[in-house]
Subunit: 347 residues, 4 copies
């Protein structure tokens, strides 16, 4: 089949300050594709995402040790999606589970070899974005910056970014790229949700302000907790129930007074979501809250079933309803809006 | 057939300050090729142009949504013109009519993917010039400059230029290219004719003066008006006659006292043209006037029939007759020579 | 006396993106100081300005052929204002009326010699800002950029700017400074008022957007017209009355139907001003409108009498009342909000 | 008198990677000089410091609103210390308490004017180091870097540094300086003590590792607590006793179980100190611990009496005794050695 992509009700944002546009919700292969989900179900998931206007698909060499890329690449091929309409990313750093000392990290060798191997698995000539999946303190930053510029110069990617770097590390890469007339990183892939705000909102602030750095965020539902999964205690058939010893700390935390207060807040978030038209549960609001942050370019969804994705796309209805007042209401509900660094009267 | 190209009486100019030479008259696919004109008539037009020594053929991804490139490419193939003798351009920005947010603009992605798609349609490995068909205010200029340099580095084009940019935007691109040791744009494709002089002669002046910026101009006959088309009123079978409601403003303008004065001037332009040996009608002089401007590299013709082209080539006879006195006569006839910016006694 | 400066109710803005702060209203010597106003009256004017928190004083070598600087410098000395609290500017280009070919323009020679002479007249070691009073098309831009950087390097000024340059010229200077690792201009001194919006709002837009270019605007009352001066016809004792032949065009314009409509609009502007608490006449609103534009750093006032300045400072009361709705009301009243350049769907 | 400086038993370290050597203990005017301590006692303190080989004296424009510089400058003059033997610093940012908007921050204007004013108060032609006392988020980093380089170029200081900046901010300044071929900051003045390790040891780590950034640390005794001041409860005549309402939080904290545990640890630190030969109390060890950190260039002491300084200099005896084993013992005693950022198997 030749898949006919139509953006429909999806919204798009620039990836940071670049000319590339990404759908505010995207689909990522982490923890699911190529691992627990294989074959036709992957196609169903990707078709569901495309049907809702998702154009950005996120991957990494390490996801399911390369199987995630293999599955996604196969599906793009089978669907015959127009390559130009897709924004595909991968990430290099962790390798694909091999023990060889050179098949990981951000050496010039692994940046190039790693991405070449990813492209082969994806059956693509290039990706749109390559992320450095982690900082590599054992490789000089200049080597890293030059490695990614090699990818750009050779047409293996159009943009490059970082994932879980510190602001200092990103700043170092930008400074070196500027000095050498090379292209710096333009986007970070950090964790961000109502429960993880500090690093994103405070440490990264100068990068948003000075460089218009973009972000494609992961875990917008805080590992599922913000979908309301534990509102009625630990569900049967859940990982926690079937493996209580392994998860005993997590279980204890959930059952503590603090854990209960947390669930109570999530329940109230669900009330606001319903009030705004987000359907049952807090997920739609939690996702729309993240997607409408001025510093978020795209929110990566990681569903294992099309129904789950459909549910997540309820958030599209709320995008235009996240007013400053709603953001304030959520700040007050969770009491965790991070404090900005002092400006000593110079703000 | 193997077409044997012989420049004959054509004159050639450098494309701005580059080493490339373009025929002072060129042929463009805008509004015609791939749209109203398809198949053999395209071949006839291109053969007529080649026969007169035209070596520069202008195109764009958006012209007839890609069909213009397909037609021209096919004809070059059929005529077996020596590729090295041709100067072929295309333009990237508007895409080919798709709704996807990334299939237009001047992002790194669309510059590269758009030109790759154009080359495929043209059945060429490279073009000689790629124009940014419009400025893209949503993409950083550095990304744009780097995108076009990618094309150069990969042999997909030899030169790059701008179309309908402001002087400030062109200057910004030049400054960034200079700073980064990259190649800046070298040519603008603006509208220019006796009726549209201001932007070309005043706003672009520093670009002609400081950088020897080239220009390949469009609409040298001001949408046909300078061919004398309305000298005897609106002709039967013309767009205006068959669709009077749609064109009512234009019709009213033509029939106003100002419109009549305008036609009167065009008639007098025809008299001068005849006096100089340009045959009937003002077209030859209007074209020669444009072609001999020191800042025009090539005048793009857009005929739909070979006869029309033949008529236009009458202008070749006048090229050596456009003396400063003739230019002054035309200035006085139309009373629209633009005033240069003040130089406060420093010119 | 040692003047004790206290900012009081004045508001301050950064000069563009720089760290320097200027009062939103400033006092300039153009047309008045050193010419029609000399001696103690200058002191009264400057004291009145300082009393209202003005910290920025604008000058130029050409103002009253150097006498403006002499008067201002003398007053600063007499008042013993703390130099660090003042922001003093001058402008170089027109010289001081001498006929020598090197005592004007923006040659390296005149930039340095002109500013040295200004400093002598001002009795200062340095100014805070030097403006290139006009572009100099007869001097290479690189020489100009280097000339102003000489001033910076030698501590003769802290910042440099442009006045009445085109966006292309400013962009050229910025690009050259960037390439050479030098400091580019950071501020333009253009005409700007409700009656002169086009160049400021359209041509300069990319400079505001890309570089946070600052502006210190002149003629915010459009030569006094926006103070309501002609609301009741041409006043007795005015320049127009005493010299009707010289000003006949201006007088005719005022008495035309269009001129009357214009006065009518100014009258209505006065009504809005009164409604907002700006006192009688439209001046306070016209000034507050300019001062609150996000791209205006400071509005230069040019009063000849302390009372006039006092009246102008009524605008301070309106600064916080210029809502988007008020701006819209003014747009609709004057019907002259300029149209931005097309963005071809990429805004 | 002409003071004859002899380094004696003092140890010296390079200021980061620079060629400048600073005594590992230095004397700073913060909170004391020019405020509670004036006149002859300042001379006694400085003489005591000099007698022990201290060559580095730290100041700031804001310390006692400029009085600290005045006092120190006077004493250097009176003692006729050889200027070349002294390393004098000051800091610019907070001004000297004036309300003017330009007499603070890190604008080019205030960097230059502020330091010029400091030099005047210090009666010096130059200082050795100027610190940016805080980051200025309202001034572009390039302006800041250029401002400090102006000081270097004009011989007003030999080095420049930062104080309480984030690693990202320092990295940004270094990147800009490198790109422009200018001199970047070389030293940070942060808080550091056994009780404040996190930012110094973790956030700044890449700066120590990549750039050999230096540090002149303040509050090495954590506001006096590490001198053992509260080991026997709150002392009579202390600030806490005489003003219990104001300090009630601090008092409550000291009397809490956690506070008591903290004092207990400090007592044990004193035991180790005595064992090593550091005399009574933990101060000598706390100071030696800081001074021997590989990333500390100098430990700033802030005594108000010569006796206090003498006591602090006991630490000199311990410098060679801070073995890795001792550091480990202290880590285990306070259980607060910060965790480094993960290196994902790449360390």
């Amino acid at each position: 089949m030749v898949y006919k992509y139509e953006p429909k009700d999806m919204q798009f944002k620039h990836l940071g300050r670049t000319g590339l546009k990404v759908s505010v919700f995207s689909y990522g292969g982490w923890l699911t594709v190529g691992g627990t989900v294989k074959g036709d179900p992957v196609k169903d998931l990707i078709k569901t995402a495309l049907d809702h206007g998702v154009n950005f698909f996120d991957n990494a060499e390490i996801y399911a040790n390369g199987q995630s890329e293999i599955e996604m690449g196969r599906v793009f091929k089978e669907l015959e999606v127009d390559r130009d309409q897709l924004v595909v990313s991968t990430k290099v750093f962790f390798g694909t589970g091999k023990t060889d000392p050179n098949q990981k990290g951000l050496s010039r060798k692994h940046i190039i070899e790693g991405v070449r191997a990813s492209l082969k698995r994806l059956q693509l000539d290039y990706v749109d974005i390559v992320f450095a999946h982690r900082p590599d303190v054992a490789t000089p930053m200049e080597e890293i910056v030059r490695g990614f510029n090699f990818l750009l110069d050779h047409g293996l990617t159009y943009y490059w970014g970082t994932s879980e770097w510190t602001a200092q590390q990103i700043q170092e890469a930008i400074g070196i790229a500027d000095r050498l007339g090379l292209v710096g990183p333009v986007v970070e892939q950090p964790q961000y949700s109502i429960f993880h705000r500090e690093k994103f909102e405070v440490e990264y602030k100068p990068l948003w302000d000075h460089y218009g750095y973009g972000s494609t965020i992961w875990s917008p539902l805080a590992g599922g907790e913000l979908s309301g999964k534990y509102l009625n205690g630990i569900p049967e058939n859940s990982r926690y129930k079937t493996n209580p010893d392994f998860y005993q700390d997590k279980i204890k935390e959930l059952e503590s007074p603090e854990g209960k207060k947390r669930q109570d807040r999530i329940r109230k978030l669900g009330d606001i979501s319903k009030r705004l038209g987000g359907g049952d549960g807090p997920a739609a609001l939690a996702l729309a809250w993240a997607a409408t942050s001025p510093h978020v370019s795209s929110v990566i969804l990681g569903a294992t079933k099309p129904e789950q994705l459909e549910e997540n796309f309820q958030a599209l209805k709320l995008l235009d309803k996240i007013t400053p007042e709603i953001r304030k209401e959520i700040d007050e509900l969770f009491e965790n809006a991070p404090q900005q660094l002092p400006t000593y009267g110079r703000a």
